[in-house]
């Protein structure tokens, strides 16, 4: 590099030598010169870019060398004195090394999920489901599992800014209050509050209170992946907003109309649990349920279906109408349905009618309102209402037509009538329908403020940005899907001084108040209980103690009801009653309840009561959706928009766990892609990774395609949430933003899309490239009839019986023998276990290039296999943790004894001893071992240190690692059991994957105990080992799959498959 003059004085001198008009032109031209540019780019004008300069580098190296040489001299100095202050008074229940569990809930998209959060010395490390909460029953989904990483995300916004300048919260509140004051005469006509779907009773009450003060202000909700269609469908059917609660556990025949009800949405966990209860091996096999899935894009639900029918999204409505007509519902115009679908209708109707009151029809959120209305009508006609379907009020506090609300808001912003736009959460600039041009409209609003976890696309266009407190940092409350309220209690003081929406509303409407006060005040008012203690005022539990990392108050051990599920460490603390039973109970009536609510993680008796609703006579009078001739094929392709299984609508784009999580069916990481069926791809001459341009109505999106077996023909699935530009370091530049195609008219389904090949390709990182079983007996399947005929079918698929191979006899161990079974009948591939494992075991994230290189680190992966016709395959999920072989092939080949067998049958990894020859991985038939090829752990980001599980080693470079059966949890249980002088009870050790599993597919325990659940399952005839012929004798075994097909439909399905092929 040449060195030019880059002294500011020299530049100034040059400027001084110019005069008048020339001066300005000269400034511009000056700015163009290399010298000036260099000056601009030199953030530290002295020595900053010396490194790139050969002469400068030499002197730099000289200096560095001298500094390093002399560095030893300074070694004689003393270390600076740092005070370590122990607890003067040990907080009650806090025993270092023993985690505590707090009940809380995660609000998302208008519903909450009940959680128990593990806290180590005041820092939350792991999220579990709350077994007492009706919507989670101890399970969690991937988002809840990954939320803990979101809390510690170093890219979260950390400061309140006004036009980029850091400001205190008081300044913002003052500015907002003065705007509100100026709006008071006009009754707030210029005030608009835009939120996500709110399911917090307190926040809704606050907002309603604010609207009462400013009657002409408006509150608009916008949820990009909301229940828009379901809401309007219920209005169509009943004339009012209502939620349908499905009791899947009572249903024998389930029909899904493009609904991913087992995995998506707030009720997914509940549905999955209910579905599994009728499917699992230990369940009553004679009463197995049967699932029919009609879907336009392959989903986890469809992968568990006994019959699956891929239909173009626009054809689902026609199918629903045809089916409804057969079931005696007046279904309006009768469109034509494709042959394959037509063949379905008669057997399906017969099956549904044979199970009146024991069936259920569920419409997917992506389907238009009329399909929802038809589903309600069909349930009504089948007598399911009151049996498998119950109607309640909505979990969201203020159901409204969000789309029209948003359209109206944008219209007003364009018109210039909005003076102050307060956006609480969400990222509407990124998520709003493209035709609204939300970003442009918003900039016509004089004052814009955004409360958000991240300084995102919306924040960038707002003058004020307020960092939001994470739900693990703030007080709030939320309703679960079925109405149960959970008080959200913080686990940690806000890391970055964030504020909750409660606090922001209070601060601008009234004065700054803590979320704690606001939530308590609301509930005290609701319940009518006094917060005043009866006796002389005690010190009420103060919000957050002085220490930054101390857990918030009301710390409770794991609730007694959770004893079976909670990890042992949390149980050793005294029971809550003992806490309350202080010498003089000076607790107010409200506090007595409040403490119980916090402890249990729910407010009792808040679940919604069933409502009786009458289905309107002619629900399907509305014309066929979008004016489509559903009978004929629309020209071009159809597109369905779906939330991404990992990053959802984009809110989790910076969550590296979710980015690297292989999506359930495509196994893609770090990107989204346009899913296309193999036949359509062949017709369009596409292969996976081809970059295409999708055009519709002047809007275009560039995205690579990915071949997805089971995708409906001529249908592309586009996942939302990618292509973020201001997501953070993990999320920026991943994937492709498909929102530009998503308009108000086509939020879910877009037709007439033109696909243009660009000729370019894009590399997509998938963790499983091979989808065929190659005829191997890895997944063993039979129909119910075959199983009844031959219950031993799984054993008979063994390649070679292994017996008496050893001269020495089997090793006997009389103590615990840990083992696991995985029931493939109920595994939906939802991935909750994978993220749970990652969170529990400090599993690092490696990034897209490393995934491309086959170096992902997940200890537990879910293998996905297809069999049958590619256009509509049978899909199987096979979770693959370490098999903990009794004759482990990995152990004999390790030259340094770094992987050895414990006397309880665990295949232990000794990280300290491992030198990393990778021979164990080569010799592992299941390839479950993971190697730290590079330094994958982030050792440098302090906020991430807090997340790590202190019971699990953080592995460094060059070391092999793998699933340990959560040995740290076994040891916790062992300590607890030894203290009580008793053996570890069955169910006391719950592995991370097991506790997250919504369908309880994973069972873990002591196989030496014949009464343990795992031992009973292993005795089942469906139980088999993978690759048993290698005599590795895995401790993890699998349950063969028993399908329950409709014999009337099976030949039809087969012929349909032939047609498609």
């Amino acid at each position: 590099m040449t060195r030019g003059p880059h002294d500011i004085d020299a530049l100034r001198a040059r400027l001084d030598s110019t005069r008048g008009r020339q001066y300005w032109r000269s400034l511009e031209s000056l700015a163009e010169t290399a010298e000036f540019k260099e000056f601009l780019h030199r953030e530290f004008p002295q020595n900053a870019s010396e490194w790139l300069d050969p002469v400068g580098r030499r002197s730099f190296l000289k200096l560095m060398g001298a500094s390093l040489a002399l560095a030893g001299v300074s070694a004689c100095t003393r270390q600076p004195t740092e005070a370590i202050v122990p607890y003067v008074r040990q907080p009650e229940e806090l025993v270092p090394g023993k985690p505590l569990f707090y009940a809380t809930a995660m609000p998302m998209s208008g519903a909450g999920m009940g959680l128990l959060v593990e806290s180590h010395e005041g820092r939350p490390t792991k999220i579990e489901g709350n077994p007492d909460h009706p919507s989670s029953r101890g399970a969690t989904d991937v988002f809840a599992q990954a939320a803990i990483l979101g809390l510690y995300d170093p890219d979260r916004s950390q400061t309140l800014t006004n036009l980029g300048e850091i400001r205190p919260f008081g300044t913002f509140a003052g500015a907002a209050r003065s705007i509100l004051a100026s709006q008071r005469p006009s009754q707030g006509v210029g005030i608009r509050i835009l939120t996500e779907t709110i399911a917090s009773p307190t926040l809704a009450a606050q907002l309603r209170g604010l609207l009462a003060q400013y009657p002409r202000a408006k509150w608009v909700q916008w949820e990009p992946v909301g229940r828009h269609n379901g809401r309007e469908g219920s209005r169509l059917a009943f004339g009012e907003y209502a939620d349908a609660q499905y009791a899947i556990e009572k249903a024998t025949v389930v029909l899904s109309l493009d609904a991913d009800f087992l995995c998506a949405g707030a009720a997914g966990l509940k549905h999955a649990r209910g579905f599994a209860s009728r499917r699992r091996v230990e369940g009553d096999r004679t009463q197995a349920n049967r699932l029919y899935a009609v879907e336009s894009t392959p989903t986890s639900t469809g992968s568990r279906a006994d019959h699956r029918l891929p239909l173009r999204p626009s054809e689902v409505e026609g199918f629903a109408r045809a089916l409804a007509a057969q079931l005696g519902v007046s279904a309006g115009a009768m469109p034509m349905v494709p042959d394959a679908a037509a063949q379905w209708i008669a057997p399906l109707v017969k099956d549904l009618q044979a199970h009146r009151g024991q069936s259920v029809v569920i419409a997917g959120e992506g389907q238009p309102p009329v399909v929802h209305a038809l589903a309600h009508a069909m349930n009504d006609a089948l007598g399911n209402v009151g049996a498998t379907v119950v109607y309640t009020q909505t979990a969201e506090a203020q159901p409204m037509n969000q789309l029209s609300g948003l359209q109206e808001l944008v219209g007003e912003m364009y018109a210039g009538t909005v003076e102050f736009l307060l956006i609480l959460g969400g990222n509407p600039v990124y998520t709003a329908p493209a035709d609204l041009n939300f970003a442009v409209a918003m900039q016509r609003v004089p004052v814009r403020a955004h409360l958000s976890l991240y300084e995102d696309e919306t924040s960038a266009l707002c003058q004020w940005h307020v960092p939001e407190a994470h739900f693990l940092e703030a007080w709030s409350d939320v309703r679960g899907d079925e109405g149960t309220v959970t008080i959200i209690q913080p686990l940690i003081a806000p890391l970055y001084g964030g504020k909750s929406a409660h606090e922001v509303i209070a601060a601008i409407a009234d004065r700054e108040r803590s979320g704690y006060e606001l939530v308590r005040e609301y509930w005290s008012r609701e319940t009518g209980l006094s917060t005043q203690p009866p006796a002389p005022a005690p010190a009420p539990v103060a919000p957050t103690a002085g220490r930054g990392l101390a857990p918030a108050n009301a710390s409770q051990p794991a609730p007694a009801g959770n004893a079976a599920r909670a990890v042992a460490g949390g149980q050793a603390a005294p029971a809550p009653q003992a806490v309350a039973a202080a010498p003089v109970p000076l607790v107010s009536p409200f506090d007595r309840e409040w403490r119980k609510w916090l402890h249990d993680g729910l407010v009792p008796n808040t679940a919604f009561a069933p409502r009786t609703l009458l289905v309107a006579g002619n629900v399907a009078a509305a014309p066929v959706a979008g004016g489509l001739p559903a009978s004929g094929r629309a020209t071009g392709l159809e597109v369905v928009f779906r939330p991404d299984p990992g990053v959802y609508d984009g809110r989790f784009a910076n969550n590296a766990w979710l980015q690297e999580l292989p999506k359930a069916l495509t196994k893609l990481t770090w990107d989204n892609a346009a899913l296309v069926s193999p036949a359509t791809a062949a017709r369009l001459a596409l292969v996976s990774g081809d970059l295409v341009e999708l055009r519709q109505g002047g809007r275009t999106v560039r995205i690579p395609v990915w071949l997805a077996p089971g995708q409906a023909p001529d249908t592309l699935t586009l996942h939302l949430g990618y292509g973020r530009t201001r997501a953070g370091r993990a999320g920026n530049g991943t994937g492709f933003n498909v929102n530009p195609l998503r308009t108000t008219a086509a939020l879910d389904i877009l037709t007439g899309v033109e696909l243009v090949k660009t000729g370019e390709t894009y590399q997509l990182a998938s963790t499983q490239d091979h989808w065929s079983l190659e005829g191997r007996n890895l997944v063993r399947v039979a129909t119910a009839a075959q199983f009844a005929e031959d219950p031993q079918f799984a054993r008979k698929m063994e390649l070679q019986p292994i017996n008496g191979l050893t001269m020495y006899g089997d090793f006997k161990n009389d103590g615990y023998a840990w083992g696991m079974t995985i029931d493939q009948n109920v595994c939906t591939g939802c991935n909750a276990c994978v993220v749970a494992c990652q969170a529990e075991n400090n599993v690092p994230v490696v990034g897209k290039t490393q995934v491309l290189n086959g170096r992902e680190m997940h200890w537990l992966r879910i293998d996905r296999y297809y069999t049958g016709d590619l256009e509509n395959p049978d899909t199987y999920h096979q979770p693959m943790p370490c098999q903990q072989c009794e004759n482990a092939p990995c152990e004999v080949v390790c030259p340094v004894n770094a992987t050895v067998h414990s006397d309880e049958g665990l295949n232990d990894m000794v990280y300290n001893r491992c030198v990393g020859t990778r021979y164990c991985s080569n010799n592992c038939p299941y390839k479950v071992r993971r190697f730290n090829f590079l330094l994958y752990q982030d050792w440098n980001t302090p906020s991430l240190w807090l997340q790590r599980n202190p019971d699990v080693t953080v592995r460094s470079r060059g070391v092999m690692e793998k699933c340990t059966y959560c040995v740290q949890r076994i040891n916790h249980a062992r300590v607890a059991a030894k203290l009580d002088d008793r053996p570890i009870r069955d169910g006391e050790v719950v592995t991370a994957c097991q506790s997250a599993c919504p369908t309880e597919a994973i069972v873990f325990g002591n196989i030496n105990d014949p009464n343990s659940r795992v031992a009973r399952l292993k005795a089942s005839s469906l139980n088999y080992s993978l690759l048993a012929e290698l005599n590795s004798r895995p401790r993890t075994t699998y349950m063969a799959i028993v399908r329950n097909p409709n014999t009337d439909l099976e030949p039809a399905a087969a012929s349909a498959a032939e047609e498609g092929a």
């Binding site: 499983q768 490239d769 091979h770 989808w771 065929s772 079983l773 190659e774 005829g775 191997r776 890895l778 390649l799 490393q850 290189n853 086959g854 170096r855 992966r861 293998d863 996905r864 296999y865 096979q878 693959m880 092939p889 004999v892 080949v893 390790c894 030259p895 340094v896 004894n897 001893r913 491992c914 030198v915 990393g916 020859t917 990778r918 021979y919 991985s921 080569n922 010799n923 038939p925 299941y926 390839k927 071992r929 993971r930 190697f931 730290n932 090829f933 590079l934 330094l935 470079r957 060059g958 070391v959 092999m960 993978l1026 690759l1027 290698l1030 590795s1032």
Partner: protein
Amino acid sequence: MAGSQEHPHDGAAGASEGALRMTPAVIAPGHTFESVTDKISGIVLTKRTPIGWFFGFAIAFAFLMLMNLTIGKLLLTGIGIWGNNVPVGWAFDIINFVWWIGIGHAGTLISAILLLFRQQWRTSINRFAEAMTLFAVACAAMFPLLHTGRPWLAAYWLLPYPNTMGLWPQFRSPLIWDVFAVTTYFTVSLLFWFTGLVPDMATLRDRAQSRAGRVIFGVLSLGWRGSARHWHRYEMAYLLLAGISTPLVLSVHSVVSFDFAVSVLPGWHSTIFPPYFVAGAIYSGFAMVMTLAIPLRKFYGLEDFITMRHIHNMTKIMLVTGMIVAYGYANEAFFAWYSANPYEGYMMSNRMTGPYGTLYWSLIAINAAMIQLFWFRRVRNNIGLLFVLSLLVNVGMWLERFIIIVTSLHRDFLPSSWDMYAPTRWDFAMFTGTIGLFLSLFFLFIRFLPAIAIFEMRTIVPQAKLQPEHHG
């Protein structure tokens, strides 16, 4: 065997027709004790280093520096700079290890086994073949260490040293057997090589012009005076070392093959590996001797000492061992079919028709088809062609190890974990770097040590036949 039945041969270069039919001698006629000694020691003791030597050494040294750079990068960043992944945990690292170890086999075979079988023709090639063995084993030995995730620990944790923790290596692991096999082999080869050098060191000491030469060769010659007692002890030691080395020729590569054979992986788990690996090792070793001998005799004018006889014999050994290797390939395919094991069957069909099928068929083309050319005397007499063919044999044997290691690993039992392997530029840097190390050492060797055993050559000149033979 025909070594003693010398054909009178005037050495006229034009008599090629005759040369085609006659078995050439192990040494060209007309040489005496003195001419042999002058010729060989002259290469070392000359003051004028050929310009070509500098040129060749500079290239080799540049690659050696590339290797150092790669090792530096490797230690700082981790073996993730290579293309290895899960499932392909071993790739270029172990391919190169096995390749180099295999090359190292020819030296001992020539030195020890041919010595015991009293094959006179070994005399002029054994010295540099042994040196080649040492350098190849040195190149090979780097890989097992550097391929580990934490070489700074692997460097001593793989050795059974007493320690306060009472920790020992895991003796059931073939990698530990490797450590013993390779270190034993290196040690014995070094001793064998050095023992053979002692009389020649004395010759050089006596003839060296410079003081430095006299001192250095003097020290290295260990006080050799050429007395009958010295010769007696030398002969005994050399014979004993040959006896010790002989089983090593078979054992080292057998043990290396256990790295694979002991595993459960289809394509590795095979009882044919030990003999098949040993044959492959000798095959590739002779190819490397040939690759080195042809330029050496050309540039240093050693055609009189390394004659067509040597070339022919090496070619024949390559033909025999190459066909054993080809038989091994056939056997692998046969057992894959005959065992009716679906995993073995898939492994074989994947080798042949899978993504690495081209490499498999290249390997077959070289190691099974191309070597059939060695049947033809016309081919065996074509030095230029032989040089190319010997290079191709080395390529073929490298491919064999690639096929065995990568194609077995990349698609094993569970189709879900199947993946592809692609080397990175650091993989190539490390590989070419070790070639640089090997050639650098070899260039230094031919410049500073007698590349052909002087005293042994003296035993095969006609002059020596006048005296009672004391050595075969």
